[in-house]
Symmetry: C2
Amino acid sequence: MALSGFKNLYGVILAGGSGTRLWPISRELYPKQLLKLFGNKTLIQQTFSRLKKIIPPEKIYIVTNQSFEEDIYLQLKGLGMIRENILVEPAQRNTAPAIALASKKIFNKDKSAIILTCPADHLIKPDKEFIRAVKIAFPVAQNNFLVTFGITPTHPSSEYGYIKINSKNKVYKVEKFIEKPDKEEAEDLIKKGGLWNSGIFIWKAKIILQEIRKNIPEVYKAVKSQSYLSLQPISIDKGILEHSKKIRAIPANFQWQDIGSWKSLYQLLPKDSAQNVLNEKVLESGCQNCLIYGSQKRIVAAIGLEDLIVVDTEDAVLVSHKEKTHEIKALLEKMKKNNFPQYLQHPTTYRPWGSFTVIEERKNFKVKKVVVKPKEKLSLQFHKQRSEHWVVLKGLAKVELNDKIFYLKPHQSIDVPVEVKHRLINPGRENLEIIEIQSGDYLGEDDIIRIEDKYAR
Amino acid sequence: MALSGFKNLYGVILAGGSGTRLWPISRELYPKQLLKLFGNKTLIQQTFSRLKKIIPPEKIYIVTNQSFEEDIYLQLKGLGMIRENILVEPAQRNTAPAIALASKKIFNKDKSAIILTCPADHLIKPDKEFIRAVKIAFPVAQNNFLVTFGITPTHPSSEYGYIKINSKNKVYKVEKFIEKPDKEEAEDLIKKGGLWNSGIFIWKAKIILQEIRKNIPEVYKAVKSQSYLSLQPISIDKGILEHSKKIRAIPANFQWQDIGSWKSLYQLLPKDSAQNVLNEKVLESGCQNCLIYGSQKRIVAAIGLEDLIVVDTEDAVLVSHKEKTHEIKALLEKMKKNNFPQYLQHPTTYRPWGSFTVIEERKNFKVKKVVVKPKEKLSLQFHKQRSEHWVVLKGLAKVELNDKIFYLKPHQSIDVPVEVKHRLINPGRENLEIIEIQSGDYLGEDDIIRIEDKYAR
């Protein structure tokens, strides 16, 4: 699929952000890029597919952190993602160190590499216009410029960064970057032809590394010496773009959104005649200008609401005025302090082989529902501190216990004692669903000794 | 505890109302009178305890319908309720038939009976003032009057009925009953000394039955002939009070509330400095004049809300403007039409021996968590169409299977095949908790053949 003429073009997707601004559907351990907000692909799947139209999968890299690595690979392996191309940052230190890390890796492989860098969680359409912009930008990057894609503003937003330009050609010289101006300044910038900074860049690996070494040498050093952990977080905008003389901007004609809040998501979604965005789990009466999402097993009754965001999930519900959802940050801090698990993750966790949902959790036992996809299997493992008891609800289970094999149908059950090597396999053609009851004094997910793992964990 | 001098005084508690105005904490099958809204007693427990101060338990009757019978007995048996005194109406036909039914029952037993009739779900305090009012009313009832307790209005509410009086003694003659007047009429009634009709009455069984026979003979006949089902619903106010010449009103000095909406509940509860009513599952920022309740295993994040009611439960959440909660009625009709179980009952059902919660329900299986109280046991039973599988989570289980006895500790499990007689017993001193997995083509609660039941069901 990759276009010819771009043979030294590489892609870097920045996917380390633990966005919690869309809580409760995003969580610290399940950020925005992993969510299906539009259609049936997640934002990172959309981003990967877009890049694949001009860059072969083996040249697409992802920078993320350990928490998201497995989920990202799970979402992208079907699209051709190479596992080794997922680069795991030692710590989250904003975009400059992440870009330095990926650029160094690629430069070591290909000194002539030109890198298209983009965030994993932006909404862009149509892909055709995106590719057109890359085609225009590519030769500018070949001429040793750092190229950023500028978006024509639709309103004087205070959520984005602006690029002040000083020429009116197809390729603009950049006068200044202005991060999140107030409304008046934004209006003034727009009047003078200023653009939104999309956070999407194209440049030579060699040039961006030179600029990093010159402007933020501590970042350059950290990537070489692995002293990453001691870095202060710094964005590529603050670190490089605001200082470098080599910046050019390309006006982009694609639609672009960085969904930074529930309000901006509301604005993007199709609305009914009362300007509401609702799903099928909502029953409403007399609501206006609201986004109301119910979750699968529950319902939301909404009466006489205006300008509200109501988002219900399995374990938490957000009810917020539409203009105030940014205040969720402080509440998440409170949740963290009070050890509410809701700040961190969803009750359902996705794995390469299926998923599990914690139904009940207490000091000495945990009840989970486990779903194994057809023909998939979990790792061969044992636990030092817990025994398990499995009851089949649906499908067929093949169970290895030490060296014996058992087959279980719905309603049959089996005990897995402490320290016994075991593996759960779905040999059938439909999902296998079991209830797992864990019992023991310590039930942490880290009490798992893997002997053999299809997914090399 | 009963006061001397009241020896022919009986109590009738009307507990048949399936109030859904406090949905989602009340449900069609779990009405307001069964809820703990204030303190650690439910409204019906408070009502029963109040009557017990002047009437011995064996003289207190409850009229309800079959759906609530078990829950009511469960809540009151510890307070001395006599099971046989729970009268089950063949159908819900408003207050007049319910009062006729109970009055007839009591009259047949004691021709001189004087009956204190009151709804199960009113909030009244202090009990002392209530008893004082009954003492004043008792001799008036002995003089063959129908006595109603009138409440001094605190505001021109359109939710209540009014009594227009025409004298200014301790005992008022009643000129007229006015049901739910508009605000202006209510203001006018209050100016002229009108009172709220509390729905609490005292009268001779003989007299009220005479009045029923005279004014609504079809109701009198239905109670005698059991043609109850064909009755049109009719209230005692419309049927008797608006026509009878024998009415007197006693001004009551107790605080009285018929909690007919979330708004009136909000008004009654203690508020914080921002006029919010919150519980410990709520994290809020900048909310005002709101009632926000979170449920046990979930959390609610509330941001920038004003004048809202937010009530979260295990399977449903209500978000409503405070002035519009009455619109829930239409939404409940929709739920009913769409077979959402949330209109009908809670996922957790209480039984004499403990409780069960439906965790997951599908076509061919159901997963429940069952809690059995210490020393309690379920009925000896079998099922024609389902097998069951029990896994002990906590406590000790004694299981009868046909004629064998098994003891199970946490993490042990047992199969209960179709048609096998079984019984679950908690022989221990702590709660027994099990996971029950039901499997079969039909999983209705009515596939249960009870052979022996401690609770005589």
